[in-house]
Amino acid sequence: MYPARFDYVAPRSLEDAVEALAGGGDDAKVLAGGQSLIPLMKLRFAEPSLLVDINRIPGLDGIAEDGGRLRIGALVRHNDVVGSRLVADRLPVMAAAAPLISDPLVRNLGTVCGSLCHADPAGDWGSVMLALGAEVVARSPSGERTIPVSELLVDTFTTSLAPDEIVTEVRVPLPQRRSGGHYLKLERKVGDFATVGVAVQLELDDGRIGRAGIALTAVGPRNVTATEAERVLAGAEPGPDAFAEAGRLAADAAEPVDDVRGSARYKRAVVQTFVERALTRAHEIAGGSR
């Protein structure tokens, strides 16, 4: 598999990278882990004129707590998340999702931010970040702005980023109350993209549900937030009835299509099953039951 011709730069600072990307025009692309971009280039589905490799830029590879948020830099690999104590302790939904992303080879290189920028509706991080209410920070020659993930993901492989913007980090609000989260993924084999994925985040408030986040992978043109399901859970009493109702509403929110992985009907049913199961598990983690 042989890609078409392209130019390549590997700047050592964010400033240089921003400048190189802006100078490269509309066909220039950021190269992070390369786990989505390189395969597309090898198939000649993508033929960027210039790659701006951000891997040599220092300071982008950290996971850190900062003022009630978790900051995840643009070079944090899926596997860094797998190994993070901070994540394991505070954000079980991320901890559950990370080891389910592809296989060890891809996890060693692929990045959380790159996955969000790629906007594949079958990407797992999109759902996790929607459920958590995260936002990304984007840098361009005209400055820096934050974009909620719900506004970043526009359509299949389409984000609201301008061609000259580089995402420098994703910021995840750390839950302040008792909380739990979980990610469930149905895949045909290890390393496969999801047939269906479900991310849930539950915060408990005095025995009732405070905030609930539910988002779905691979059942729509982008990662889908199950807004109705989130709404009925907020303020409800946690338990099988509420979780089953949320499952039904989430299945309604899904917009799956028939394909080799299964029928739309099937995928809806899996959404329903998974939302129920994931909420039950999240509730357990939050210390709600047992």
């Binding site: 598999m1 042989y2 078409a4 011709r5 198939l43 000649r44 296989d103 149905l186 045909r188 084999k189 290890v190 390393g191 496969d192 993209f193 047939t195 080799v260 992985r261 299964g262 029928s263 099937y266 049913a269 899996v270 099953t273 998974f274 199961r277």
Partner: protein, 784 residues
């Protein structure tokens, strides 16, 4: 020295010797075709059809010709000028090298660019302009066989429909009579899906034709170098003595490297015309969409039984989807391979098989993917039918098998379709498997689980294979009889070179065959260099596929070793000054009866063969043998798979796999077990995930490894392997082929396990790949 002691020191048959070849593979020191770089070498890339069926209106290569680094652009018209636009297939059909009239499948070869480097070759491909006039694509073989279907093979004189063969086996009258007596007839319609051998190394060639001498050296990925040499001579009209096929290390074949592909022919033609070496290496997608697929059998089976479970007869009607060219690799008399082994392990008095092949707008191939020519489809069908029959009769599936097995005393057993099974003890293998898996306890656990709403299933397959073709009377490939060969040269210092006509692709020939020489001649395996895969160096043979290496060339190795041992005995008698009858052989050593200290070793004899031979005896200790097996070998076994199905998603997990294999005498038990592990993993992949499918326009879905799924070590279950040993009565070592048993036998065990988990709900069939989606749909349908 006691025999056992001597045997142990030479580490011959029965020893789990580490594989000699692994040293270079593990160190990255193997040499594959793509590792070969010759001075002045050019690179070829192939332009493939984006459409499944279309008339070619025009091809404009002018822009590509002018592109940077391009040396030549080759089209079908150019090949036609040298009478090379079409080539024969292994099933007696013809196949387009490059399309001249129509394209008949997506991915078909249309033109090629030869350039100074592989990137430039591919850049130039994008500059070739082909105008197509689309035709309706036929993707369903049943539709293709309908009378008014558009004709795919309008190139063939006299071809008026899309049927590529009709073939029958067995006795229709006897079968009808058996069905008339039946209490119960169990039917099953199932599609064994199109899958792909997917070797790690794709296909490729470095063609090096010397324009001055006419000598063509072809470094290529071939499982059958000699057969390919002869076919090349016939296709290209090159004198056969000028063709040398060299197969370096082959990175897996699994049947994929048995056929001759257009790329080989085109690269050779290019080298001939340009006078420079030309390399062509497929990429992964090209391998998946254009080279030999496997299976794709639509089968209808009917099993007739009495109420108490006696099998009376079997009827099979099948349609095979052969793609655009009938290019199955199989013995020429067998139009559906050895599918008629479909009566399996059972004493079925009557059987009738009717098979029809259909041309469709899909890639050709029909290769025996780790299988002895369609044995896999046959084994799957009978083992699935038996499971369903057990459900219908309310019998335990193990018990139903037991009641109908061919009994040990019935061998040699002539099956209803005409095979003569050499040996077997099916019940012993079943018993061992049931005992190892703890069958009765498992059935109890299954009952308990069901009560809790959990879906546990136990699947059994008691398969029988037929492997190791020939004999020469019944089996040939394109007219070449299926014998095989071994040439053994023992050097004066007692070291040896063994040259074999079969071709390893990872099976461990360099170790196994050396161990045969060790046992037969007493030369330690590390002193035996095994060579293969250079047609100028090794004797003629038909190659490695269909589990034939040990049954044929393994036997040839044993026979030639024994012939040399006979000669060695003459020399030993001369050295010890006794008569031959007074000598005793003890692996590697001749001693005088009654005076064990008077002895010479095989190494002593080897030296004498060149330095001190007896008067009148030919010098040297060398010889060659061509072995024509009297019959096939019939390995068998029982696999038991335990699964649990998640009712919420339909996903299923394998909890246990117990495998009992009987391949007769095991030459290297570790290598045998490795072969079984690999086959069980491939069987799992086929049962659960592997599928090449097409949309209604004939677009191939499954052209890379994110769509065509292969199991990895992560999801592949753990295997528990056991053995029984029933030697082949006609093989000199008592060995049978084993490279394919597990791919052949295991898919039915996995599927039976899932069906077993759902049987009480009324589910009777789910076609492979048994995806979670299909399982879930089946549960919904059943509970409606």
């Amino acid at each position: 020295m006691a025999v056992a002691e001597q045997e142990r020191t030479v580490r011959g048959i029965g020893h789990s010797l580490r594989r000699h070849e692994d040293d270079r593979f593990i160190r990255g020191k193997g040499t594959y075709v793509d590792d070969i770089v010759l001075p002045g070498m050019l690179h070829m890339a192939i332009l493939r059809s984006p459409l499944a069926h279309a008339r070619i209106v025009s091809i404009d290569t002018s822009k590509a010709q002018a592109a940077e680094g391009v040396v030549a652009v080759i089209t079908g018209a150019d090949l036609a000028a040298h009478n090379l636009a079409w080539m024969p297939t292994l099933s007696g059909d013809t196949q387009a090298v490059f399309a001249t009239d129509k394209v008949r499948f997506q991915g078909q070869e249309v033109a090629a660019v030869v350039a100074e480097d592989p990137y430039l070759a591919r850049d130039a491909l994008q500059l070739i302009d082909v105008e197509y006039d689309p035709l309706p694509a036929l993707v369903d073989p049943h539709k293709a066989l309908e009378p008014d279907a558009v004709l795919i093979r309008d190139d063939k004189e006299g071809q008026t429909d899309n049927r590529c063969y009709h073939w029958e086996a067995g006795d229709p009258r006897a079968t009808d009579e058996a069905f008339a007596r039946a209490d119960v007839v169990v039917t099953l319609d199932t599609h064994y899906p199109r899958c792909h051998p997917s070797p790690m190394e794709t296909c490729g060639i470095v063609a090096d034709v010397n324009q001055a001498t006419g000598q063509a050296t072809l470094h290529m990925t071939s499982q059958a170098p000699h057969a390919h040499r002869t076919l090349f001579a016939m296709v290209a009209g090159l004198p056969e003595q000028n063709i040398r096929i060299k197969t370096p290390d082959i990175g897996g074949g699994f049947g994929n490297k048995v056929p001759i592909y257009p790329g080989y022919v085109a690269a050779t033609a290019a080298s001939l015309l340009l006078g420079r070496p030309v390399k062509w290496i497929e990429d992964r997608s090209e391998n998946l969409i254009s080279t030999g697929f496997a299976r794709d059998f639509h089968m209808h089976g009917e099993l007739a039984l009495t109420r108490d479970g006696e099998m009376l007869g079997l009827r099979v009607r099948l349609v095979s989807d052969n793609g655009a060219f009938y290019a199955d690799a199989q013995p020429s008399k067998c139009r559906a391979g050895l599918f008629h082994i479909v009566t399996g392990s059972y004493a079925l008095p009557a059987a009738h098989v009717v098979a029809d092949g259909a041309y469709t707008n899909k890639a050709p191939g029909g290769v025996a993917y780790r299988c002895s020519f369609r044995v896999t489809e046959a084994s799957f069908l009978i083992e699935r039918l038996v499971h369903n029959a057990a459900i219908e009769l309310g019998l335990d599936p193990a018990e139903l098998r037991r009641r109908n097995f061919i009994r040990p005393e019935q061998f040699p057993y002539t099956s209803a379709t005409g095979f003569v099974y050499d040996s077997g003890n099916y019940e012993a293998a079943l018993d061992l498997a049931l005992q190892q898996v703890g069958y009765d306890d498992l059935r109890e656990e299954q009952r308990r689980a069901r009560a809790e709403g959990r879906l546990l299933g136990i699947g059994i397959a008691s398969f029988t294979e037929v492997v190791g073709a020939g004999n020469h009377k019944d089996y040939d490939i394109a007219g070449i009889k299926m014998f095989d060969s071994a040439e053994l040269r023992v050097h004066p210092t007692g070291k040896a070179i063994l040259k074999i006509g079969v071709q390893t692709q990872g099976q461990g020939h360099e170790t196994t065959f050396a161990q045969i020489v060790a046992s037969e001649l007493g030369i330690p395996p590390e002193d035996v260099l095994v060579q293969y895969g250079d047609t100028d160096n090794v004797p003629y043979g038909l190659g490695t596929y269909a589990s034939r290496s040990t049954p044929t060339a393994g036997a040839a190795t044993a026979v030639i070793s024994r012939k040399l041992r006979d000669k060695a005995r003459q020399i030993a008698a001369h050295l010890l000054e006794v008569s031959e009858e007074d000598l005793e052989w003890d692996t590697g050593r001749f001693s005088v009866k009654g005076a064990p200290d008077r002895a010479v070793t095989i190494q002593d004899v080897a030296l004498a063969a060149y330095t001190n031979m007896p008067e009148g005896l030919e010098a040297g200790l060398e010889g060659v043998h061509y072995y024509d097996p009297p019959n096939m070998t019939f390995p068998f076994g029982t696999y038991v798979v335990v699964v649990e199905v998640d009712p919420g998603t339909g996903d299923w997990k394998v909890l246990r796999v117990v495998a009992v294999d009987d391949c007769g005498v095991r030459i290297n038990p570790m290598i045998v077990e490795g072969q079984i592990h690999g086959g069980l993993a491939e069987g799992f992949g086929i049962a659960k995930m592997e599928l090449i499918t097409f949309d209604e326009d004939g677009n191939c879905i499954g052209s890379n490894f994110t769509d065509y799924l292969l199991p990895t070590s992560w999801e592949t279950p753990n295997f528990e392997c056991f053995a029984t040993v029933t030697p082949s009565p006609h093989h000199p070592l008592g060995a049978k082929g084993v490279g394919e048993s597990a791919t052949v036998g295991s898919p039915a065990a996995y599927v039976n396990a899932v069906i077993d988990a759902l049987g009480h709900l009324g589910v009777r069939n789910i076609d492979m790949p048994v995806t979670s989606a299909k399982v879930w749909e089946a549960i919904q349908q059943a509970s409606r």
